[in-house]
């Protein structure tokens, strides 16, 4: 059976209705893996992406490495990987999810190998390198800085080879329909036509990635505005650990670089070393408890903290970061390690043998997210989540290399269990499920409005979140942020939407803005409640880590208002 389509002409115009067994929202690494796994179990799968399938989201931008204890480079075990992950997570990982991540990682990496991903090899085995926080060399990659595009390409090919997977590009979910406590499908915006689609599904998987778009400086694709979190909250699911946003420490800052991932300096450091220097050309990480010394061992939360503290103390580089210096590395070593990338840098006017570059932290990844059980199911029956969209596996700080592993492992698992749940679910659908979204959309289309555009308000949120709930927070800044976000929310109904239906980006921007507002509110609320500093959550007013906060914070919507509570950490290791 493939997804069935029918068309009903209602008063508000033609609404296309689709029917499927498993609906997947988001077609990055997690979504595509989920689609393959669900289809393997039989039945129809519908895979949506608001960009083009396999080209948006975080996966395509993941130019670095994938961590899995396959033990090809040196003896390793999933258990060691788990211990490293838990240590980096600062005591609050959901250990059950971390264990699934580390134990299933090798299967997925080797499966991708069989599907044709060209992991770099040496002497007949998959080459694995080290990264901060990993005690073994366990990070696989595709040259040169091509891991994300390569794995996305493999998954696109696999997905397109399965007839029972229907793919839809330029389609963004705007509501998950729930009745009697069970997910029944979704309403989505078809950007190409500027009209709504309704979708009946027996199970739904949210795989729409993280929230990097709520910040001014961000390293991921521009289309992750926290939609997964917003959709989950509105559907009645819980979020967990929303205060833990990972800021990648050494993202490119200056001189201006185009055509390259801003976080590409990470592999440069682990392959070649590279000195992190403040504006006075002095090494500094060691003053913050790290032991860097050009060998690149400080984990991410530690390095981000040290860099921003140097800038704050007036010892930053000219553009407000620090220097990364490779001038001690010979030209032929640079070329051996990075080949054509060196030429791309030269085209950008960057000669690493002659000049340092400037780097600074950027919003990179979200440790928190949708709360799921070991089957990747939320507390709403039939609603699953996978990939960066879920919270818990990485606690308060994620190790380099765990994100793509997470996308594959949790995607596969969500696909399997969602398909199973679909088989056990009745197929109930009513047009009444969609009434709220259809009415809201109809109102949106009648608007002309002279207010600011949704895109302009998005920019203001990005500035606000960076300044108040970025790498450093304080009780006062967070309280101010909540108030300002409330003001933005009240503007939603007055924003200007330009005319025209086809590819009207104002419509997409408006729904993104809704997601950004709700997600930002969740981050700020959670950060305010966690009155301590831990991992990626740094409160300048409370710099110490407090043992009593070794627990997880859950958020849910109650009558349209966020409520929060604490739960003890899920442990699996004695």
């Amino acid at each position: 059976m493939v997804a069935v389509r029918s068309r009903a002409d209602g008063a508000s115009g033609a609404v296309t209705h689709l029917t499927t067994d498993v609906l997947i929202v988001g077609a990055g690494g997690a979504g595509m893996y989920a689609a393959i796994a669900a289809a393997n179990e039989g039945g129809a799968v519908l895979l949506l992406d608001k960009s083009l399938v396999g080209r948006g989201g975080a996966t395509i931008m993941a130019q670095m490495t994938v961590a899995a204890a396959i033990g090809h480079q040196e003896p390793d075990s999933p258990h060691l990987h788990l211990e490293d992950t838990l240590e980096a997570g600062r005591g609050i990982c959901n250990e059950q999810l971390s264990e699934i991540l580390c134990h299933n990682g090798p299967d997925r990496i080797l499966e991708m190998d069989r599907w044709g991903t060209r992991w770099v090899r040496e002497e007949g085995h998959i080459k694995q390198v080290g990264a901060p926080g990993h005690r073994r060399k366990r990070c696989c990659y595709v040259d040169f800085l091509n891991t994300g595009p390569a794995v996305a390409s493999t998954l696109r090919r696999q997905v397109s080879g399965v007839d029972s997977i229907r793919r839809l590009s330029n389609v963004a979910a705007i509501e998950i329909c729930v009745s009697d406590g069970r997910a029944r499908g979704a309403v989505a915006l078809d950007l190409s036509s500027g009209s709504l689609i309704t979708i009946a599904a027996r199970a739904v998987i949210l795989a729409a990635g993280g929230l990097t778009k709520i910040y001014r400086r961000s390293s991921a694709s521009t289309n992750m505005a926290g939609e997964a979190y917003w959709l989950a909250l509105e559907a009645g699911a819980e979020l967990v650990d929303m205060e833990f946003v990972q800021f990648f420490p050494i993202a490119h800052l200056a001189p201006r670089l185009v055509g390259m991932d801003p976080i590409m300096w990470d592999p440069f450091r682990y392959k070649l070393g590279g000195k992190l220097l403040n504006g006075n050309f002095e090494e500094f990480i060691h003053q913050y408890g790290g032991q860097d010394e050009g060998r690149y061992t400080a984990v991410r939360d530690q390095a981000s903290y040290a860099i921003l503290k140097e800038v704050e103390a007036g010892r930053g580089s000219p553009h407000g970061g620090v220097y990364l210096d490779f001038r001690h590395v010979p030209d032929d070593s640079l070329r051996t390690a990075f080949g054509p990338v060196i030429d791309r840098l030269l085209k950008n006017g960057i000669d690493l043998t002659r000049m340092p570059v400037e780097v600074a932290p950027t919003a990179h990844y979200h440790m928190g997210g949708i709360a799921v059980n070991e089957r990747m199911e939320t507390r709403v029956a039939g609603l699953f989540a996978a990939g960066e969209a879920i919270g818990g596996a990485n606690g308060a700080n994620r190790l380099s290399g765990n994100a793509i592993t997470e996308a594959f492992v949790f995607g596969e698992r969500a696909g399997f269990f969602a398909r199973r749940a679909a088989g056990e679910s009745d197929s109930v659908w009513s047009a009444a499920y969609t009434e709220r979204s259809v009415a809201e959309f109809s109102d949106l289309r009648q608007r002309t409005g002279k207010g600011p555009t949704p895109g302009a308000v998005q920019n203001r949120i990005q500035d606000l979140m960076w300044d108040t709930a970025g790498p450093f927070r304080s009780g006062e800044s967070l309280r101010n942020a909540l108030e300002t976000l409330g003001g933005f929310r009240s503007q939603l109904k007055d924003l200007a939407i330009s005319p025209g239906d086809v590819f009207n980006l104002d419509l997409q921007d408006w729904y993104e803005l809704k997601a950004m507002l709700r997600t930002s509110e969740a981050v700020v609320t959670a950060a305010l409640n966690r009155a301590e500093s831990r991992g990626a959550h740094q409160r300048i007013d409370i710099p110490q880590t407090i043992a009593g906060f070794e627990k997880n914070q859950r958020l849910a919507l109650m009558d349209g208002t966020l409520s929060s509570g604490w739960t003890s950490v899920v442990r699996c290791l004695a």
Binding site: L52, G56, S192, R256, T453, Q458
Partner: protein, 110 residues
Amino acid sequence: MPRVTRLRIRRGSTREDGFYQTYDVPFEDGMSVLDALRWVRTHTDSSLAIRYSCINANACKTCMALVDGVVEYTCTARLHESCTTVEPLPKRPVIRDLVTDTTPAEEKLN
């Protein structure tokens, strides 16, 4: 004095009925054509339709257009201080403004 550059953009929902519209954009050394297009959308004219995903990393490969007559990724094409003309890809049906039909047929609704 802040530096300004000018974009001349082919707009419209078909190739035949298209027209050119010009926008002034603040200029910074090293900025990409995509930087300028995004600036126009958030500061001057949000109705301008463009396609992009990854922001200047040349990873998603979805932002192609004709820049001064040459097919380029707008995220890697550098802007210059004189006027730059940006038009939709020449061999694809125009959907709206700079957005052309690059979606694989089997990923479309209709």
